[in-house]
């Protein structure tokens, strides 16, 4: 634990904080914290691809793969054990992203965005027209079980919350390590100048492919956690509007840190809740205005506020960090 940096320590401390929130906050707000963690993982996946300059407008694909893996495991195999479900979801997303990555890694910019969107809409259409899976109505999921233990009611909700928090924070910490590691650095270099990366002797394609697969895996974990906590899946998970929402979150939150999209998801959810309350007919306008203001005044997202604050208080330390 000695080589933990500030972000990793923050993630470690976040665990007891999240547990405390579960006890302290009212139930409805805990619900939003919980679903925000599931969705936050997908936003995180969008963020790491954005580091490479790739905007995925189809991250809902793996979100949906995770959700449907959970649903179908119960429906067809009778599995409600969350660990088995997670393994299934991760396996499914690994295989799918491994294959799709072969194609997608060759495209950048708008072409990457459109292709990811297209692939995800294929799944959306397939699921919408499959009657056995409830078509657009989707279907309901069972209560999760944990290695033979099936808690119900309050205990069940609490168990899932603890697991969600644990998995989300662990995934975020691992992603943070990944971004600090060699592939993470290459990915940023690809955004700056891909040709030069190739001249330096590494394969841009391989790095993009790896990033794409990692993004797919954490999205599917997010999908499982989100679907299990809401107890329902629909093809809407793979719709481009869902994917667009994840891009929105990352723009709002910024790509500066792995914590940003997680917090950003929650902020956006709470913002939505109050926007609907204030003006049920035009709440999207409030979100839109916030989005515009963010882009105009905080082009690097809400996270840049924090960075600015720390720069002001610790000018030397920050300068050192930058020079590293």
């Amino acid at each position: 634990m000695k080589d933990f940096d500030k972000t990793e320590w923050a993630l470690v401390i976040a665990f007891p904080v999240l547990l405390a929130l579960m006890v302290l906050l009212p139930r409805w707000l805990v619900n939003y914290v919980q679903i925000s963690m599931g969705m936050g993982l997908v936003a995180l996946a969008v963020m790491i691809q954005m580091r490479a300059g790739l905007v995925s407008f189809g991250q809902g694909l793996y979100f949906c793969v995770g959700g449907y893996a959970a649903g179908m495991a119960d429906k067809f195999l009778g599995i409600s054990d969350i660990f088995l479900i997670l393994i299934l979801a991760v396996a499914a997303s690994l295989v799918l992203s491994g294959v799709l990555g072969l194609l997608l890694r060759r495209y950048r910019e708008i072409f990457f965005a459109m292709l990811t969107l297209a692939v995800s809409m294929i799944l959306f259409s397939l699921l919408s027209s499959s009657h056995g899976l409830g078509s657009t109505d989707g279907f309901n999921l069972p209560q999760a079980s944990y290695l033979g233990w099936t808690p119900t009611g309050e205990t069940g909700t609490a168990a899932l919350y603890v697991l969600t928090a644990l998995l989300t924070l662990t995934s975020a910490a691992l992603i943070h390590r990944f971004l600090r590691g060699p592939v993470g650095k290459i990915v940023e270099a690809i955004r700056e100048n891909e040709l030069r990366v190739e001249y330096l002797g590494t394969s841009a394609h391989a790095s993009v492919h790896a990033t794409y697969m990692i993004a797919a895996v954490i999205s599917s974990i997010g999908g499982v956690l989100w679907a299990m906590s809401l107890g329902h899946v629909t093809p809407e998970m793979a719709n481009w509007t869902t994917s667009g929402q994840f891009v929105f979150i990352v723009i709002l939150a910024g790509t500066g840190n792995v914590i940003a999209p997680l917090v950003g998801t929650f902020v956006l959810e709470v913002l939505r809740v109050y926007a609907v309350e204030v003006s049920p007919n035009t709440w999207q306008m409030i979100l839109g205005i916030v989005m515009l203001l963010t882009i105009v005044f905080l082009p690097k997202g809400l996270w840049s506020l924090l960075e600015r604050a720390s720069k002001r208080s610790l000018p030397h330390e920050h300068a050192q960090e930058q020079s590293q």
């Binding site: 009212p26 139930r27 409805w28 707000l29 619900n31 939003y32 679903i35 259409s125 919408s128 027209s129 009657h131 409830g134 078509s135 657009t136 109505d137 989707g138 279907f139 309901n140 809401l230 107890g231 329902h232 629909t234 809407e236 869902t242 929402q245 959810e269 939505r272 809740v273 609907v276 049920p280 007919n281 709440w283 999207q284």
Partner: protein, 434 residues
């Protein structure tokens, strides 16, 4: 200011802060209102044809009930004296279930009415029983709710018939009341949206027709995407298929597009069109809907609503406030709210428990006729419905319907204990159509 007033003020403040912090319910108790969550689409493609009419109806009716201006037997104030305080929520959300939990736990509503989409209803149905809050679904059509998802409901009700009724009645209208079409009826075709509503509607309609008349084939099935807006290719396919009857459960903008594009290319002239959810288009399209088209309104609503004091009051009040006449989603919202009022009035108290106990199995009058909570142990409504053929009245410039046939609820709804699918397969066993 004396010391005692100061301390009194501060103790008041303390009490108020405490009340705010721990028990907003205590505050609500003082004012004695019935907080009613109203959920419908306020944005997106379904808001215009469905969501906003149901929201408006809820707003109108809440005011009218609070002022006691609804005609008899609903002319008393509030839910047995308790005033209604509506909270409007947009159903267009990625997290319908979490929003439902919020309404119950944060806004502490006494009950919830609404939900237009079957997807939302399927998602929240188990949650209703978990959170133990009275919820009356108004419009969603899927038969799954009580047949598969919540088989022993206590808190969950639905004040509208499910979609099976629309299509069974449409099939009966075609086979039994449209002699011109039925004599040569050999093949049917359908154009329905590629999602649950469209798929279920077509499945029920085609199965019902085949039960009612032997040797009817299916010439063509089209399932375009929802909100596609362009149906050129599908209309071509239907024109070449030359079916005698073409069924569609399109609604909203898609329906209007189909009517305009299909009528322009002669589809409506060549085959008998059956549009099961098309009353919403009449005021908007007028003469553009070809005469002879079979029109459904998902119940005896709107153009098919009975000539009663309750109905004429509702139509006029709605028109005066919103400038248009109410369409079927508005009627369905009224069904739910009047059912709750009837139950509360019967019990003599406007509480959640009283409404749950008395709404169960209740039969009550609405602008659209009698609603009978007959299925799922008294939690699922059955209503009658009507079909008719379109006739544009050139003198008044208004669309009308003729050859109206009203079907009794028992004729077109499955009996308790039988799922819709099974019931159609048995040849409508036990249907009472006299």
């Amino acid at each position: 200011m004396t010391h005692s007033t100061l301390s009194r003020i501060s103790s008041h403040w303390l009490a108020a802060t405490l009340a705010l912090a721990v028990a907003p319910a205590a505050m609500a108790q003082e004012e004695k209102t019935f907080k009613l969550g109203v959920v419908s689409f306020l944005s997106g493609g379904a808001s215009g044809p469905f969501g906003v009419p149901s929201r408006n109806a809820a707003e109108l009716l809440a005011d009218a009930i609070n002022n006691g201006t609804v005609p008899a037997p609903y002319d008393s104030v509030g839910f047995a004296g308790t005033l209604i305080e509506p909270v409007f929520v947009d159903e267009a959300s990625k997290n319908v279930v979490a929003d439902y939990q919020r309404l119950v736990q944060k806004d502490e509503v006494d009950a919830i009415v609404g939900y237009n989409s079957s997807g939302s209803c399927v998602a929240i149905a188990p949650e209703v029983e978990k959170l133990e809050t009275l919820t009356v679904m108004t419009a969603c059509g899927t038969s799954q709710i009580f047949e598969e998802i919540v088989t022993e409901p206590h808190y969950l009700f639905r004040a509208a018939s499910h979609a099976t009724m629309d299509n069974v009645a449409a099939a009966r209208y075609v086979v039994e009341h449209t002699p011109a079409a039925v004599d040569k009826l050999g093949e049917i075709a359908g154009i329905n949206q590629n999602y649950s509503w469209g798929l279920d509607s077509w499945r029920d309609f085609s199965a019902s027709i085949q039960v009612l008349k032997n040797d009817v084939g299916i010439a063509n099935e089209q399932f375009p995407k929802i909100f596609a807006g362009q149906y050129g290719a599908e209309i071509s396919a239907l024109l070449t298929a030359r079916a005698d009857v073409v069924h569609s459960s399109f609604w909203g903008g898609d329906l209007e597009a189909l009517v305009i594009q299909g009528a322009g290319r002669g589809l409506f002239g060549r085959t008998q069109m059956v549009l099961t959810s098309s009353d919403t288009a009449i005021h908007r399209l007028g003469r553009q809907i070809p005469d002879g088209t079979i029109i459904g309104a998902r119940g005896s609503y709107n153009i098919y609503a009975p000539d009663s004091e309750l109905n004429s009051w509702f139509r006029q009040a709605y028109f005066d406030r919103y400038g248009v006449y109410p369409v079927h989603p508005a009627y369905q919202m009224v069904n739910a709210m009047l059912g709750m009022k009837a139950a509360a009035d019967k019990a003599g108290e406007g509480t959640e428990e009283a409404i749950i106990a008395n709404l169960k199995g209740l039969s009550f009058d609405t602008p659209g006729g009698i609603v009978d909570m007959a299925l799922a142990g008294g939690h699922q409504a059955i209503t009658g419905t009507s079909y008719g053929t379109y006739k544009f009245d050139k003198d008044t410039g208004l669309g009308t319907v003729e050859n109206i046939v009203s079907f009794k609820a028992e004729c077109i709804n499955p009996p308790a204990g039988l799922t819709s699918q099974e019931w159609i397969k048995t040849g409508f066993e036990g249907a009472d159509c006299d």
